[in-house]
């Protein structure tokens, strides 16, 4: 196997064995969604209205839950040292880890989101669009988070401080994601513009994230 794919496979294996993987992600998402009505009350119209927001929040939380340990585990057990000594540029290695993380945490959420949408009585046909926004937007969350994860490893102390600077970057993603979803469900605003911005954000993160993260790790060397 190539270094790139082997790293993806390895990270996914670990995620599935330790975290329970896709099933667990789905369960988690289900529970988060089920809990909303408890908090907000049984008002179905309201639920439908904030449904997309809830789905997006669930996605963000699921991403964050696993993310902050993404490089920390490798650093603690010495894997990170060896990852840096590989023949493949560190940027690619970081990207591989990001992809593995997205595949194991974000993708399952995207896939089951339509079902959960029903519980929040979002109409079925609109649900397709919501899932689409999640599919287009979650990579941005993951790869922006990547930077924060790398920073928090690079600077042992106060690493979170920088994560604090990174995490707010996810707000635009959430905003446009929810906007696009709402446009798809309720209208009247057009679906196109926010969605294209969402895709742009994801692409930007996909390119920028690995470079920034790799740089952070390198400078973390002392």
């Amino acid at each position: 196997m190539s270094a790139f794919t082997s790293l993806i496979v390895r990270d996914m294996r670990v995620a599935v064995r330790v975290g329970g993987g896709a099933l667990m992600g789905a369960l988690f998402f289900l529970i988060v969604v089920v809990m909303m009505p408890f908090a907000i009350g049984p008002d179905m119209r309201l639920l439908a209205r904030i449904g997309p927001a809830i789905l997006w929040l669930g996605a963000l939380l699921a991403t964050l839950l696993a993310l902050d340990r993404l490089f920390a585990t490798d650093h603690d057990d010495g894997s990170l040292d060896l990852l840096m000594m590989g023949t493949m540029p560190l940027e690619l290695a970081v990207a591989a880890k990001g992809i593995a993380h997205w595949l194991t945490t974000a993708l399952p959420l995207v896939i089951i989101s339509p079902v959960l949408g029903l519980m929040l009585n979002v109409e079925w046909d609109a649900m397709g669009w919501v899932a689409l926004t999640l599919l287009a937007g979650t990579p941005a969350l993951t790869f922006i988070g990547l930077i924060g994860a790398a920073l928090s490893v690079a600077l042992r102390r106060g690493g979170l401080l920088l994560a604090v600077l990174v995490l707010p970057l996810t707000i635009p993603v959430l905003i446009f994601g929810v906007a696009a979803a709402n446009a798809a469900i309720i209208g009247p605003a057009p679906f196109g513009p926010p969605f294209t911005i969402l895709c742009a954000l994801s692409l930007g993160a996909l390119v920028l994230g690995p470079f920034a993260a790799a740089a952070a790790l390198r400078h973390g060397l002392e």
């Binding site: 196997m1 190539s2 270094a3 082997s6 790293l7 064995r17 040292d81 000594m85 023949t87 493949m88």
Partner: protein, 198 residues
């Protein structure tokens, strides 16, 4: 090929650990780094491995693949063995073999006598078995320079002998070894470099 350090210095946490270090090592030679706790043995190895950036002085590896840096041509065996408990022994080794440039796993497992345990989750390994698993890495992937940080700790006598064999074989094949240790590691005719106040 030849590894040379001239006037190398190491500063960690704002404190100077060692300075003005010079040595050169050519193919087939081994360097045994000794010194008190905190003398800078591990730091030196990590520096050579490119895991600590060099502030003063320079390090060079001549005669290897010249496009590759030292890190790509070196194996680093540190205090932490990069092992994922969730993966099986074979999976762990297979991954590092693939990642570090491709190599053959089974002979490596045999070389450290882990064949019977190959399918256990690595979480089940004892300290010495873990150590052997990370040593297997050196065998699986061919790299000219070995950086070994107290390689014999937690190894039982037979495993120590086996390790010595491996190292001799590596040297015989023109490889180089820089090892940090407090006792002997079973390498006769290894040059010694003592750091810090003796």
């Amino acid at each position: 090929m030849q590894l040379t350090a001239d006037n190398l210095a190491c500063v960690r946490g704002g404190r100077e650990v060692f300075a003005g270090l010079n040595f050169s090592l050519s193919g087939g030679e081994a360097l045994l780094v000794t010194g008190r706790n905190g003398a800078g043995k591990s730091s030196l190895l990590r520096m050579i491995a490119g895991l600590i950036c060099i502030s003063v002085g320079r390090l060079a590896l001549a005669g290897g693949e010249d496009d590759a840096g030292i890190a790509e041509q070196a194996h680093y065996l540190g205090h932490q063995d990069a092992i994922k408990p969730a993966l099986s022994v074979r999976e762990n080794l297979q991954f590092w073999a693939d990642y570090l440039g491709g190599g053959n796993v089974e002979p490596a497992l045999a070389a450290v006598d882990l064949v019977q345990l190959a399918d256990l989750p690595a979480a089940y390994l004892s300290a010495g078995q873990r150590r052997r698993l990370s040593i297997a890495r050196l065998v699986a992937v061919r790299r000219p320079l070995w950086l070994l940080d107290e390689p014999t700790s937690t190894l039982d006598a037979p495993s120590q002998k086996r390790l010595a064999e491996l190292m001799r074989g590596h040297l015989a094949g023109g490889g180089m070894i820089v090892a940090a240790a407090h006792g002997s590691i079973g390498l006769e005719r290894a040059r010694e470099l003592t750091l810090g106040p003796v």
